[in-house]
Amino acid sequence: MSTSLVMFMVFIVVTLGITYWASKRSAGSSAYFAAGRQIKAWQNGVAVAGDYMSAASFLGIAGLIAFFGYDGFMYSVGWLVAYLTVLLVVAEPLRNAGKYTMADVLAYRLKARPVRAMASLSTLTVSTFYMIAQMVGAGTLVALLLKDSGIKFPAAVIGVGVLMIIYVVFGGMLATTWVQIIKAILLIAGTILLSILVLAHYGFSLGAFFDAIGHVTYRDAKGQEVVKDFLTPGLQYRPPYGALNLISLGIALIFGTAGLPHILVRFYTVPDAKTARHSVVWAMVLIGSFYIMTTFLGFGAATIVGQDFIKKNGGTNMSAPLLAQALAGNVFFAFISAIAFATILAVVAGLTISASTSFAHDFWTNVVHKGVERAPGEEVRVARVAAFVVGFVAMGIAILLGPTANVAFLVALAFAVAASANLPVIVLSIFWRRFNTTGAVLGLAVGLLASIGLILVSPSIMGIDPPTVVGAARHAIQAKPWFPLDNPAIVSVPLGFLAAILGTLLTKEPEAEAKFNELLVRSNTGLGAEKAVAH
């Protein structure tokens, strides 16, 4: 198992080297927050992929497919198709009209202070929930992978937290970008290798592979041996609410991705909208190829390792590493584990920089100090402090929740908030002349509250367990759930839109309407857009 430790160390040393290199090039706001807007299309595309493919993608989906077959693969589809919303609707207008954050576009023609305050709150909420989920995942994974070296959960969480803080505080967006690029390349390489090994196991016959998926044997909850066709839908999503759950999940993914702050800020790192567009296409090629290959990872784990073995050796999230071990032994297991570790680090670094940028740029400079940077470099200094604070808060909560916490709902929550609060106001602000401040604030607030509120009364939190269920597996509230779906998007996204529209119609704001032409021209042509910084 010490091979894992060596591979972790190699990755850490390389990324710290990059951070040192980047720290010398991160002077000034544009350099620190947006890597000087000098990132090339392919680089940003790979970085978007590295920012996006989280532990939930690599470990989570492989596990879901290994345990629920086809239903798990539904996540893979939604996570790629979501990029069409990014490509067609938000990426280019955002790059053209904004500077560092999503709120830049909203504040363009609306009253800056209330809008930025709400947008910053929603950004911090999404990023923090997402980050806690990643850190609990990282802690569990590292503790499990390195159990022979005596590293426990809290130490693992602190290790991940400290690294991400170093990347972001010293290296800014440039270091974060390169950490994400390296991680994405490692992840794709590891996934291709694993897929080839799975195919080799079946004598490179897709027919034999899919036949094996048709007869997966495992023990059900009662301990009875059952044989199921894992390519048949319905292993996870069953009546009465299965269909609505799937549609709700689809809404959260398709409209949430385009509202994820850590993805949106990536489009400020490129020189112009055309490069932003090409980078989305690069990202789609990588992300799509990866998610198609989850077929081999997930079904491979289901057929070659089997869920009975996975359950006894770390649970669903260990499906991909255990598959690597079964196919090619401990060194490959260590390699895949190191990739999983790199995956988490790159994502938490992206989340930290988007959260701290939003705090410094939206809240500190524009809300507290009314858009005036009192001293040169203040915004960057505040962002660095914010990165420390965000990192420590996330570490603290992750350690408090502990290794067995049910964190899947935190990721669902992040996507639901992004889809219900952020996306409606971004879209309406770009496309609706009449849209105004009251609409934006109300839309953000209702979207945020509705998605959090509905999750609190959903089956993720509420449920009645038999006394045999103990610890983190028990529901936090022992009562029948008030809302039947795991994902609130099917209700909260329409509510977010409705609140934004009603808020707008109830008030008049001629200034906002008057400035619509400016936003329209800027976001569609790139006239007057932020330029790349020359070295």
Partner: protein
């Protein structure tokens, strides 16, 4: 104040220009149908999986069923739409370039 009035008229003038209207129309002709198509095509998957699982379980080649092929097709459809968009966007860039050149020539911000 005079500055504000001047800048407003500048953007309004561009927004009302023939060239800008052409750009918006060209964009709309591609983006609106493409968006509607992908949303409908995507949501057909969870709707069918949820409400017609028996139909989707029909086997096509060996053990491979309609459900898997339909899910797989989503990836290729997404890639094709992205490719077509990039192609169409070359026209947007060309139209935008003219507007920017003219707009920059008018000075001020």
């Amino acid at each position: 104040m005079a500055e504000a009035v001047k800048s407003i008229t500048r953007w309004d003038r561009i927004a009302a220009s023939r060239q800008f209207k052409d750009l918006m129309a060209t964009k709309r002709i591609f983006i609106v149908p493409a968006f509607i198509f992908f949303v409908v095509y995507y949501f057909a998957l969870p709707v069918l999986v949820g409400y017609a699982p028996a139909f989707l379980s029909t086997k096509v080649i060996g053990n491979v069923n309609i459900a898997y092929l339909f899910a797989l097709s989503q990836f290729f459809v997404a890639w094709i739409i992205a490719g077509l968009y990039v192609k169409a966007a070359n026209d947007f860039d060309r139209l935008s370039k003219d507007i920017i050149e003219k707009g920059d020539g008018q000075g001020g911000n």
